[in-house]
Symmetry: C2
Subunit: 406 residues, 2 copies
Amino acid sequence: MKEIKGGVTAPRGFLASGVKAGIKKSGRKDLALIFSETAAVAAAAFTTNRFQASPVKISKAHIAHKTHRAIIVNSGNANCANGKVGDRDAVSMAVAAAQALGVEKRAVLVASTGIIGHYLPIGNIHKAIPLLVKTLAQDGGSSFAESIMTTDTKKKECAVSCAIGGVAVRIGGSCKGVGMIYPEMRLERHATMLSFLTTDAAITKRMLEKALSEAIVDSFNMVSVDGDMSTNDSCFIMANGCAGNRLIKDTGNDYAVFTAALTKVTAKLAKMIAYDGEGATKLIEIEVVGAKAARDARTVARKISTSNLFKACVYGGDPNWGRVAAACGAAGVAFDPERTDIYLGGIKVMSSGQSVKEYDKKKARAHFLSGNISVKVDLKAGHARAKAWTCDLSKEYVAINSVYST
Amino acid sequence: MKEIKGGVTAPRGFLASGVKAGIKKSGRKDLALIFSETAAVAAAAFTTNRFQASPVKISKAHIAHKTHRAIIVNSGNANCANGKVGDRDAVSMAVAAAQALGVEKRAVLVASTGIIGHYLPIGNIHKAIPLLVKTLAQDGGSSFAESIMTTDTKKKECAVSCAIGGVAVRIGGSCKGVGMIYPEMRLERHATMLSFLTTDAAITKRMLEKALSEAIVDSFNMVSVDGDMSTNDSCFIMANGCAGNRLIKDTGNDYAVFTAALTKVTAKLAKMIAYDGEGATKLIEIEVVGAKAARDARTVARKISTSNLFKACVYGGDPNWGRVAAACGAAGVAFDPERTDIYLGGIKVMSSGQSVKEYDKKKARAHFLSGNISVKVDLKAGHARAKAWTCDLSKEYVAINSVYST
């Protein structure tokens, strides 16, 4: 497996584009499209929020279709809490794209991100679709990545290549989202993180669903910026088979290679989200080891990743590990606090539930002044482990989010 | 029932004091004592955090005693994650107080609040105890309230009087805590919110436990500043019977009157915590109505109260109700989003899951610029309701918590 350049158009047979449709007040690009030149199988995971945006409802219906050709996405408006008007607008986006592309309506998936409770300027979207389709290009991944951004400061895309049965297969991805980030997505059930994955692997829809499900558990579903779960979180993947590998149709070795490569892409994108978190100045990686079960490890890691107190002390460069311990103990997971160890940047600061008095405070402080903070918790209860990613809680986060809708 | 002046010494037969023991670097008062002139029955609720501070462990052991006389409390140091040294120091605090007061060791309860992982300066505490006992006074409640403060900007105390069987009974309380506030306390199991309640009611230990348990569910356990649960949260109550009412020994009318009065005190103290939350500029009251069960109402109200995004927009005076909806749907409670209504300051902004287009935005904005924000969510699924309290998320919160331990 190796990293390659690009994003959603790195795999063969995918085109993408992005244009200014006039949805964002800023006048930036806000409408994006991915198109597969041949029929692709698709899988998707959606937010488990009880409130679900209209595009989530429509994509859930469309994902049942056997094959797919395109995903249309707007930024600047979530199309959520807009009732029947919202549902109709989401369908209308898909239909207009389908017509312009000359494909079936249900072969088009749809996603939105932005403010909740405002009607989509659907007229603007209709007007922009011809240009969106016309500008579809093999090097359009970057424009796509740009057009889906909201409060993101950086485009987020990556791609890998791996060999399946001696044939090179590519997986590319692009995502957006730096606030209201605490995805808990499930396949066909639930994420405003939006994530788009493409691959030229030949794989059955069923195996693609399974691979996506496995990949998100330890990547997107382990990233948090603010602990706020969105009504719009969605993760899509399309596989068009253009690589010409032998079809992945069961959970054999080919599947394992594919899933490992996919997880590499999703984990990298997840980290990009945390690193570009609203107001973030630092990336925090939290690893929990020695858990009885993977579920316990994930729960504890995620709980630490949502501690405002810990995230604020990271912002200040203050290695206050007591806040890690407190968050750990608040996770609702059974473990023995008197066996638990905590490490900051590799330095043991708590040993078997007790503060290490002689740890190197200078070194710990220096680590906390760096841009990449690592925290490790060893529960010493088993062999399961998990990693979660988040960012520090800064004054800028508050500033960004106190003036959003006005 | 009527409000009366004072705090923990408003009920008869209670004395209190507070002194400077040299625990806080700031040189402020940091050691406090409540003393009942006669034997009192006591009940307590403690944090459910897996990591439990040494004073929590010791008070859990001591609370099993039949009667109690005193509670000794220090601020500036949590005495948590200090291993056997910490346990020994907590016992030593209780023993020294017991000796100075001439009471049994197990008749003394102990509490600490402050930084985690630093040894308690137990020598300083021992030196200060004689003065602490000497200055015990009927008007000492205020000094007590001052001495337990950490990042609190205001003393927190209140008291009520109610009639039980024609006899006036008083309940007083004092608490501290404005950060690491997300108590989930259970009796004899679990709060660094520290809360101290006193009453001169005559009541059995069993009924006192039941009354405390009921009172905290809708008060302390519904307050959040940052969603971070402490290792030290504790809520104590002592009842010394000095009012001379007929003994409350079952769940009859007298119990109901007492519990209502107690809940009045705990709810008022809980609101004081939210209002004085670290960096807070506004108090937020969240009411969830129309829930199927009280548990659902509490879960949804608490989820909204911990939304960083919502709290940040309150700080900015931006009535972005979409964030209330998103938090609501992320609570993990089953309800029909298409029936749900949301009100901001009494103004309906979402009706049956859909944005109200014509709501009075000027009025909503004016409400969000006030100091008291109210949010109401109607799930229209039943008759259960709950209230939660929190504060806005400000740049000051981040500033306070990014430089704490250094």
